[in-house]
């Protein structure tokens, strides 16, 4: 994650005309990123599939069919069935909901913690910055998954707790981005101008700083969403996340693991889906970042 950050340190002194109501240049450049657009399309389809799961799934996710236990993929069950005769395709589609929501929850937790603290550290500086940054370094120094497992140990297993843990563990990476971006924006002339005309710090932060750090935050959030998805899979696989029988892509892999000898075909779909989703999220993040790297230093306020 350090290489892209370095890229963004470079500030292009773009000769800026008067702001118009046209599409923002960053958005325009993002739309030029083919891979990112394809990835965004994939994610949109995924969200749609997750929303429509009750209508498009062949059967309810918990419905058991004891006539078709551990049956390999067939016309009736495209992805096969598990040891209880549950249709994997149905569980997979419902699992998409759980996994996407879980990633969203972790990202929201990371945002709720990382964003305000990052703004505070970056804008206020001084003692608050020193303390927050040191704590941040410490949390980042610990192995994330081990730390998340420890937090789950305290909160008790369950998907919400697991994603809360993951959100807490990943908040520092967001804090760092927000702090860095805020530091950069704080030095801009328009902030000085706002201060000169008597804007209160809270107004400056919410009206000017916040708007200008949105793009790098979006880039980081997409990365975090991908990492959270992987973490959900890991924790659910370990039995610390989603509780059976509710399906998530991670818990489906746990089922596959438990039945690896009798039904190895169960292992493919959830893993590939996780891989593709994480890949798509990182493509979108890359797209946002490269759309930004040419257009840093402009103000939208």
């Amino acid at each position: 994650m350090s290489a892209p950050e370095k890229e963004r340190e470079h500030t292009a002194p773009a000769a800026e005309g008067a702001p118009t109501r046209e599409r923002s240049p960053v958005l325009q450049r993002f739309l030029d990123e083919r891979a990112a657009l394809v990835a965004l399309g994939f994610l949109a389809v995924l969200v749609l599939v997750a929303l429509l799961a009750p209508w498009i799934a062949p059967s309810p996710p918990q419905a058991m069919n004891l006539d078709a236990v551990s049956s390999p993929p067939s016309a009736a069950h495209w992805l096969g069935t598990d040891e209880l005769g549950r249709d994997l395709l149905s569980r997979f589609l419902y699992g998409a909901r759980t996994s996407l929501l879980a990633a969203l929850q972790a990202v929201v937790v990371a945002l709720v913690i990382g964003l305000p603290l990052g703004l505070l550290a970056g804008y206020a500086g001084g003692f608050a910055d020193t303390v927050l940054s040191r704590v941040n370094d410490a949390v980042m120094a610990a192995p994330a998954l081990v730390l998340a497992v420890a937090v789950v140990a305290v909160l008790g297993p369950g998907l919400s707790n697991a994603m809360l843990a993951i959100g807490i563990v990943f908040a520092p990476s967001l804090f760092r981005i927000v702090r860095g971006a805020t530091l950069q924006v704080r030095g801009e002339t328009y902030i000085e101008a706002s201060r000169a005309i008597g804007c209160t710090p809270s107004r400056i932060v919410t009206r000017h700083v916040l708007l200008n750090i949105v793009p790098p935050v979006i880039a980081q959030v997409t990365i975090l969403a991908g990492v959270s998805m992987l973490a959900e899979a890991s924790l659910s696989f370990l039995g610390l996340g989603v509780r059976p029988p509710e399906p998530s892509w991670g818990s489906l892999l746990r089922d596959a693991f438990d039945n690896l000898y009798t039904a190895p075909y169960l292992v493919y779909a959830p893993g590939i889906a996780i891989g593709l989703t994480v890949l798509a999220l990182s493509q979108v993040g890359d797209g946002v970042r490269s759309a930004l790297s040419a257009g840093r230093g402009r103000s939208r306020t």
Binding site: A138, S234, L238
Partner: protein, 316 residues
């Protein structure tokens, strides 16, 4: 001097912050360990006695100080579920995890260097594209899933390697290695992928520099150029990636050990979490954090050895 200062002050401070954080969390956890230990229907007095025995009637800071004072002397308390000394328990699980992590690191280093260099030498070639696909897959796929696929292919279908279990190296290198190959590959994939990407870009950049052009003009062959002039320059990204990935590698062992049934620290941590055996969880997290902090520090130090320009003073 700066380095020494960092080692003596910064590393312990970071360690204290992390361990206090986890300790505090454990203390805030719902459920009273004294009630649980005293057993169902225990009287108030009995619970109070257990609480006093465990030192739970003391303020949090005192308890943490007590834990820390014992921890630095290697006394991490007693496991609740296993009734064993936590330090001994961790030590008994250490060889398996260390073997796994070391083998994975070695694999990642070799694969990352070889693939990254080859990709940089023939940019745009088949191998270059294969390496980017390999890297993208490594970053996007869950490690344990890679492990599951390896089990399906190499254990279930081909029958070449055992699917689970672990044999100490003392009982023969062969058995040790065959049990560790698959988990190590699963664990090495991600760092290898990242390493390959960084080595590729570092090498590609160096290949265009003047001293490499000179070497080429002198008639040196590509392997010689890469060996003498290029790899050294790729050292910094390699050290950086390895440093940041050590933590992830340790995290990865938690899941990979479960997949392959390896009795290491990772599976011990998971079991202890499920059993709510807090002394073990605390000890495992403290150990992992300590290891990562020391390794990060060593990686920082290695920059100066690889590239003297970055040594003392040059770095902010």
């Amino acid at each position: 001097m700066r380095t020494l200062w960092r080692f003596v002050v910064a590393v312990p401070v970071l360690f204290v912050v992390v361990s206090f954080g986890v300790f505090g969390l454990v203390a805030l956890a719902p459920g009273d360990p004294a009630v649980e230990l005293a057993g169902q229907g225990a009287s108030e007095a009995a619970i109070a006695r257990v609480r006093e025995e465990l030192g739970l009637d003391q303020p949090l800071l005192v308890r943490y100080g007590d834990w820390l004072a014992h921890a630095v002397r290697g006394d991490l308390g007693t496991s609740i579920a296993r009734k064993q000394d936590v330090g001994e328990l961790l030590l008994s699980r250490l060889p398996a995890t260390l073997s796994l992590a070391a083998l994975a690191l070695l694999l990642a280093l070799v694969a990352g260097l070889v693939l990254g260099t080859l990709a940089a030498v023939r940019q745009g070639g088949v191998l270059d594209r294969a390496v980017s696909v390999f890297a993208a897959a490594g970053i996007a796929l869950p490690q344990f899933w890679v492990g599951l696929i390896l089990v399906v292919v190499f254990s279930l279908q081909l029958g070449w390697l055992p699917a689970t279990g672990y044999e100490p190296i003392g009982e023969g290198v062969g058995g040790w290695l065959t049990h560790l190959v698959l988990p190590a590959v699963a664990l090495a994939w991600l760092p290898a992928a990242e390493l390959a990407r960084h080595v590729r870009s570092a090498t590609a950049e160096v290949l265009d520099r003047d001293h490499v052009l000179t070497a080429r003009a002198k008639g040196l062959l590509t392997p010689q150029i890469v060996g003498r002039h290029v790899l050294r320059n790729a050292g910094i990204p390699v050290a950086t990636v390895l440093g940041t990935r050590i933590a992830q590698l340790l995290g990865g062992t938690v899941v990979v050990e479960t997949v392959f049934g390896i009795p290491g620290l990772g599976s011990l941590t998971v079991d202890s979490v499920l059993a709510r055996d807090m002394p073990v969880v605390l000890g495992a997290v403290a150990l992992a954090t300590g290891v990562v902090l020391v390794i990060n520090f060593l990686v920082d130090r290695s920059y100066g050895l690889i590239d003297p320009r970055t040594a003392e003073g040059a770095r902010a």
